[in-house]
Amino acid sequence: MTRYILRRLIAMPFLVLGIVTLAFLLTTVTKGDPLTAIVSDRQMNNPEVVAAAKAKWGLDRSLPERYAIYVGNLFQGDMGTSFITRRPVAQDVLHRLPATMELVIAAMIVGATIGISLGVLAAYFHNTAIDHASRLFALFGSSVPVFWLGLALLYVFSVQWGVLPGPGRLDARAVAPPTVTGFMTIDTLLAGEFRLFLDAVWHLILPAFVLGWAVAGTISRLVRANMLEILSREFILTARAKGAGEFRVVVGHALRNTMVPTLTVIGYSFAYLLTGAVLTETIFSWPGMGSYAVDAARGLDFPAIIGVTIVGGVVFLLTNLLTDIAYVVANPRVRLG
């Protein structure tokens, strides 16, 4: 087990290098000219300004040179400087990562909770109205685009009914607590501001639900199928013959047996959530990596684009590793060498 994790950790830097290379190559095949992001339109005709800009941002060097310099800097934690914000990309990204993580984790919790509950209910009451309703819920979540869902829910719950707050992480009038972890829910608690904490959770609900809906749908279908199969196994009969109640039979025995595939799907849904966060953040004015990435892409801000790609990739690799570890822990029959 420890050896397996060590092996995976050792492989990490190589995978990251692969991501860096890919991200780097991708920026070279785009048609846009990054100079337009650096040099104002008026100055574009001025060769001196253009040459100076090129030299300053390293755009006058050959591709392999730029690559070597970039990787060398990366080793020192330097991801270059954003064309747009003119701040170090590493600083920008690290500043925005917690907001995204908070949103993604919240969406994961929402998706897993709703998905598992619905899946269990749909299996236990299969071929009843509950089952059909949960199927519709899943179908809806996987077929409706995130941006439409986000706007629709925002309109209904925030604008029309006013039961949930609008975009943002906190009420516009609220004073944010000092940043410690970057997770608004944690930082408000650290600051001892319980009201602010509730406000932060309140603001999380809608975006987390929008982002987590599709995941909830996928998980509910998977859990339903697995539960149906497990509930027909003989050890379920054994549990009932022991005198266990239905809740215990379903949750303690059956659900526990579906945890391995369920954990895996939850873990791998991370990739979906990270990409889905881009749109969700834009809709909900969420100051995370997603909205940063959108700005970077619009502005052809190559250092920022590569930086976001690398950080997203590393987060993705780490969650996959965590998923695999959880898989082993949850499954007594697997022993990884």
Partner: protein
Amino acid sequence: MNAHTPLFEVRDLRVAFGRNGVFSEAVRGVSLHVDHGEVLGIVGESGSGKSVGMLAALGLQPEGAKVTGSVRFKGQELIGLPRRSLRELRGSRIAMIFQDPLSSLNPVMTVGDQIAEAVRLHNPDFSRKAALDRARDLLALVTIPQPDRRLRQYPHEFSGGMRQRVMIAMAVANDPDLLIADEPTTALDVTVQAQIMDVLADLQSRLKLGLILITHDLGVLAGHADRVAVVYAGQVVEQAVVDDLFARPGHPYTRGLIASIPDMTRESERLFSIDGTPPALGRLPPGCAFNPRCHMAQDICRREAPPASLESGHIVSCHFAFTGLESVA
């Protein structure tokens, strides 16, 4: 409860399954009883309704099955009993073990936790530690070596025979009055079968268990049962004290079963087996259900269901009960 109340009494039990609105009975009016400390063997071919009948008696019938009749445990009627009260009986007063020990244990729970669960479900004041201690004693009781270590292992680390011992340990965890063992050895190797039967027989006499032993194999019952009920197509066709049954099998089906007991002393090339197969659910022939396979069948057997005849505690349902007995030996 007086001295004449049997421990467990089933009367006219019927279990029907519906398909497209048509119900067919898999168990068709079974009556039997078990006394305190008695071993009742139930024998019959696959599909004769042995499992479904016993499960239904405990309220564990498959979804959609319709159950009627009467099942009394120590005089208390179980059919129609609230689920909660049934649950309190299951695993504490009445325990059950199943055919396939490979699939009857939860693969993601340690063996100790599974036994401890059985203890704590009926003794909520037991701590986890106390329940695990009890589980260890139970493993020792069914002669599993190194119970302390075994407790922490998962079912896949156990052999088939060892798993069935675990099932037995779990079943007797709360010192039940009645144990229903549904083909406890069918899935096991022949050598292991005998060991498991010994463990069961030993516990039965030590704990004074009423035991219902379900099997395909009449031979197993010869050494272990007090009385035997022979089931065919959802009905009891013969019921008698074990020695009497072997000495004077009254039903042609029973004679067929006796003839098909593998004989270890004789080098028989081919095992005897009754021709044909039992009727499928809902495909009963008219008259006696056994008539298409019976070499003694006459016209009346194809017309009328046979009445049950009682002869000094020996019940047989056959138009020609006990006829031609001399030729069997």
